[in-house]
Amino acid sequence: MTSRIDQDQVQHVASLAKLSLDDNQLKYFTTQLDDIIGLFETLSEVDTDGIKPTSSVSDQINVMREDVADNWGQRDALLANAPEAEDGYIKVPVIIDESEDED
């Protein structure tokens, strides 16, 4: 059976999803995703001409509310969950890749 998704495409999808895969994982996921996308393709048997897509099954539509702050003012509690924090801010690693400066 012809493949529906190849390793290059899986690599592309992984990069869109901010995931990195090593060679083994790439092979493993490509086979599995190919099978599953084969299942997805069974939908092409269904005639959906003129059928509206459903995105929500809620009985509520466009609910409005006052634009007021709620559940706020918990900076310290929030920061306690940050991997690193300092002086009331979330701390991130150095974000400039210095190895690229050599170009």
Binding site: L33, I37, L39, N81, I90, P93, I95
Partner: protein, 489 residues
């Protein structure tokens, strides 16, 4: 002590009559969990200090004789946030995450006087049907410790079935309450979409996710659903429909006389075990004997449910799980040299394989050039699935069928085979796509393993399901059987 021969009514009586205090009940619950959970492994995290403190407060002011839930220990699935109590969704990504607020369902549990004893194991981010995708432990089926408890709410179902608690909360995106309830021989309700607030439920597939109760009995289930349901300003997809007292109509006069039940021929087709089919056909005869009519009906698009579901739920998951980037909370990888690196390494190290698989399937289905063929097509098929249900439920009070094609399978049997795992959801998934209420109740055994029956109702008509489930329960004794320490004894 275990909860095998207890229900909310008997426990409440004992608490009001001071046969046992809330403190002693909570202590006894923890003692039993400490003993049994070495085998069952239902819990990720116990809430001992806060639970005992709350029990003491309840004892101090006296158990409210008018509140059947006061002082009752319950468990909560670990994707429902609990303030100050670690909530992981069974993911390494959230291993040390302490929520700063309570989910609305948690808040309602607490306000009702129930005591949260701890957080139950699950498939990572609720993605899976066996609880084997937990990053932390393997929960066992209460009836056979070599078998899966189902999933993703496997911890909640195993905890109730093994007598650790009388009730637990689960969540159901494609069958995650009903299937583990079926595998463990307990009662699980996935309410109508919008019945229970999703505020504080760690999002997987937002148009499908729903919180609901898992209990030993139908009446207990109804009592707890009434307590956690209702409109919530924090979740504007919740309905403004009034929440009935679901247990009010469950008594000696409850019956199914004159009810019309549809049994879809697609639910007893290829791939459904003979024992499961036989149990459902016997249940149909039981309903006839009890005064209902059961007719064969058809849901012609049911077979496309799995494909449509895995496109839609994975697409929603791919979007919902973007928030886990290693910056504000959750897991952050070491040795990163750029911002991109923080995102990629944290996500690649923090998520397990099934979560990665779903994120990639969703990203693929939504990506340029594929959107119309996959996501849009699935959303159109969803409409056809809804239409099938509407057509049947116009003429029938509810639909009956199996929950899962088989009883619980062996741990490790299917874990590396996602296609087989996904196909196992074929009977539960369409209900989520249509947003309908669906429940699982005990309806038989196959080689000592429970078989669940699924009842599917009209939107916001959980009342009919509870009545039909209660009538069946009172006329059978499947729910009275209890597991013998997972087959150890």
């Amino acid at each position: 002590m275990n909860y095998f021969d207890k229900d909310l009514t008997s426990l409440h009586e004992d608490l009001v009559n001071k046969k046992i205090s809330a403190t002693d009940l909570t202590k006894a619950t923890f003692d039993n969990i400490d003993t049994t959970d070495a085998d069952v492994a239902a819990f990720l995290n116990l809430n001992k200090d806060a639970a005992l403190k709350k029990a003491a407060e309840l004892d101090e002011k006296g158990i409210d004789a008018d509140n059947i839930l006061a002082g009752i220990p319950v468990a909560i699935k670990d994707n429902i946030v609990t303030k100050c109590l670690t909530t992981t969704a069974a993911s390494k990504m959230l291993e040390n995450f302490k929520p700063i607020y309570d989910a609305t369902a948690t808040k309602k549990v607490n306000e009702s006087g129930m005591i949260n004893v701890g957080k139950t194991n699950m498939d990572e981010f609720a993605m899976g049907g066996s609880t084997e995708n937990s990053a932390f432990k393997t929960t066992k089926n209460a009836w056979d410790y070599t078998r899966v408890p189902g999933g993703s709410s496997g911890g909640s179902a195993a905890a109730v079935a093994s007598g650790q608690v009388v009730a637990a909360l689960g969540s159901d995106t494609g069958g995650s309450i009903r299937q583990p309830a079926s595998f463990n021989g307990v009662v699980g309700m996935k309410p109508t979409y919008g019945r229970v607030s999703r505020w504080g439920l760690i999002a997987f597939g937002s148009s499908l996710d729903e919180i609901g109760p898992i209990t030993r009995t139908v009446k207990d289930n109804a009592l707890i659903l009434s307590a956690i349901a209702g409109h919530d300003d924090h979740d504007l997809t919740t309905s403004t429909n009034e929440v009935p007292d679901f247990a009010a109509g469950l008594n000696a006069d409850t019956n199914v006389k004159g009810m019309k039940i549809g049994l879809p021929k697609e639910f007893l087709g290829e791939g459904v075990d003979k024992d499961v089919q036989d149990a459902i056909l016997a249940a149909a005869d039981k309903y006839r004997e009890l005064g209902a009519t059961v007719d064969e009906v058809s849901l012609p698009h049911n077979k496309y449910g799995v494909a449509a579901y895995y496109i839609i739920s994975s697409s929603e998951a791919s979007s919902n799980l973007q928030r886990f980037d290693g910056i504000r909370y959750g897991y952050r990888a070491d040795d990163t040299k750029s911002l991109e690196d923080v995102y990629v390494k944290s996500r690649s190290e923090g998520f397990g394989d099934e979560v990665k698989r779903r994120i990639m399937l969703g990203t693929f289905s939504l990506s340029a050039g594929f959107y119309d063929a996959y996501f849009k097509k699935a959303a159109q098929v969803r409409t056809l699935i809804i239409n099938d249900f509407q057509k049947v439920l116009k003429d029938y009070d509810f639909i009956m069928g199996p929950v899962a094609p088989t009883p619980a399978y062996k741990i490790g049997e299917d874990v590396d085979d996602p296609m087989t795992m996904y196909m196992n959801d074929i009977l539960t998934i369409p209900v989520n796509l249509a947003g309908l209420p669906g429940m699982s109740i005990p309806a038989g055994f196959s080689n000592g393993l429970p078989i669940g029956m699924q009842l599917i109702g009209r939107p916001f008509d959980e009342t009919t399901l509870y009545k039909a489930a209660y009538t069946f329960e009172q006329a059978t004794d499947f729910h009275k059987q209890t597991p013998n320490a997972g087959g150890k004894n």
